[in-house]
Symmetry: none
Subunit: 144 residues, 4 copies
């Protein structure tokens, strides 16, 4: 499971701080390495529709150990993973979801952010990840 | 919750009048600011498949505080929100859904219309909104 | 499809009048003979959770051509239809849903009401049905 | 929408404190008055299966403006609301979900707690509610 509650709260707090800096209103979700929700917050005035998107960005990033935006490049029409969004009760494959990888290169969870442009969403997610580690996994095998 | 039943009935009545003017058969849905259904009607000979589309257009417009067609321009292949329709148990991102914003700039609900061309759907939705307010939200923060 | 919009609005109006008489706040749904939503209204201060229940009562009554409460007697533990609620994306099998049967004994639609005690729900539904016909189907075959 | 993020965090913090006191590991969810998720946390070692239960307890309490346990007494076999759990994409009707009602008697949101005995779940939920108000709604009409 890896990400504990203290970790998750640090991630969310860092992400929120960045969201405020950018003058945005975000939904922020953190899942553990099993892709199960650990913590979530919806800032005031954030879109209601972003609740589910933030959570799905986090689960998507965890499911495949990669940034949601990277997956989205593979799921465009004509690309190898076209339509992958139909799996797993719905994926979100545009930026804003990032894996959280610890110093040993182990995937310990993921963060998903939704509420502004995808660039802002990504930047807020990255600020959250930076508290605990990085978003890039080493070459396989990488999962415990 | 915002939109009360009297409001919702006025919105639907104005939308229906426009639908008749355009010689169309529409499904018309109104949701409150929590995206929960307040009132719905299916005109005779409207497509059965439009029931769910009208309701999803209304919830989509409410979830993101914007016209469904505006969201759809961002969700095309190669665009930033490609695949967003997979969230929230299904979004509809072509025209026909509009937020309802009151004179104080507060999102009080949304309307969704389906049953004809998307231009007609949009026109009927706009006629409904006009009874209560406008569809454009002011800059953030805009939600209670 | 049978129930036209004029019919459905008469049914809902009669049901609403009864709901007011009983000092209750109801969700009222009417479906056609294909169990597809024709009209819906949520009275102010009605439970949000009653939206789905009212619609499911209407579809349940239509699916089986009988009062939801009658079906519920058969779906209790140890009874022949125990667990039938798991079908059709969820049935509601307590009172408040009634078929609408015309003077020729044909099922033309159904009404579902939720928002108060099941006795009140049933009474409001019955007031709606009375505008168009009865709730009892003749012996099979009864469907067009 | 009513419950803002500051409110929700106070509710969760009070609930967590009570959970620690009781030596339990809980999932705690807060929804706004539209039954949309506002904040969530899963304590370390809480059951993964409690994530969804905590959220559904919160939405259930909000949908009907009553304690989930009160609804559960009405949904037992042979009781008036038997099978109501099949509505609204799944309700949870045992204790641990409570409405949050402000000093004006308005439903402003709800809390759901899962992770221990239902008595403990309820006690933790009640500790959360106490920060903002009460769980008992006045007689109708009670919703904005």
């Amino acid at each position: 499971m890896h990400v504990n509650l203290e970790n998750a709260e640090q991630v969310i707090e860092a992400a929120r701080k960045k969201a405020v800096e950018l003058d945005t209103q975000m939904c922020i979700a953190v899942v553990d390495s099993g892709a199960n929700l650990k913590a979530f917050m919806r800032m005031d005035d954030a879109w209601v529709g972003s609740i589910d998107i933030a959570i799905k960005k986090a689960t998507t990033a965890c499911f495949f150990g990669m940034a949601t935006g990277a997956l989205g490049q593979l799921s465009q029409p004509g690309k190898p993973l076209y339509g992958i969004e139909h799996s797993n009760d719905g994926l979100i494959t545009f930026p804003g979801g990032l894996p959280i990888v610890d110093e040993d290169g182990v995937l310990v969870g993921a963060i998903g952010v939704s509420g502004s442009t995808v660039d802002n969403d990504h930047e807020v997610a990255a600020a959250g990840v930076a508290v605990l580690g990085v978003s890039e996994l080493p070459a396989h095998p990488w999962r415990t």
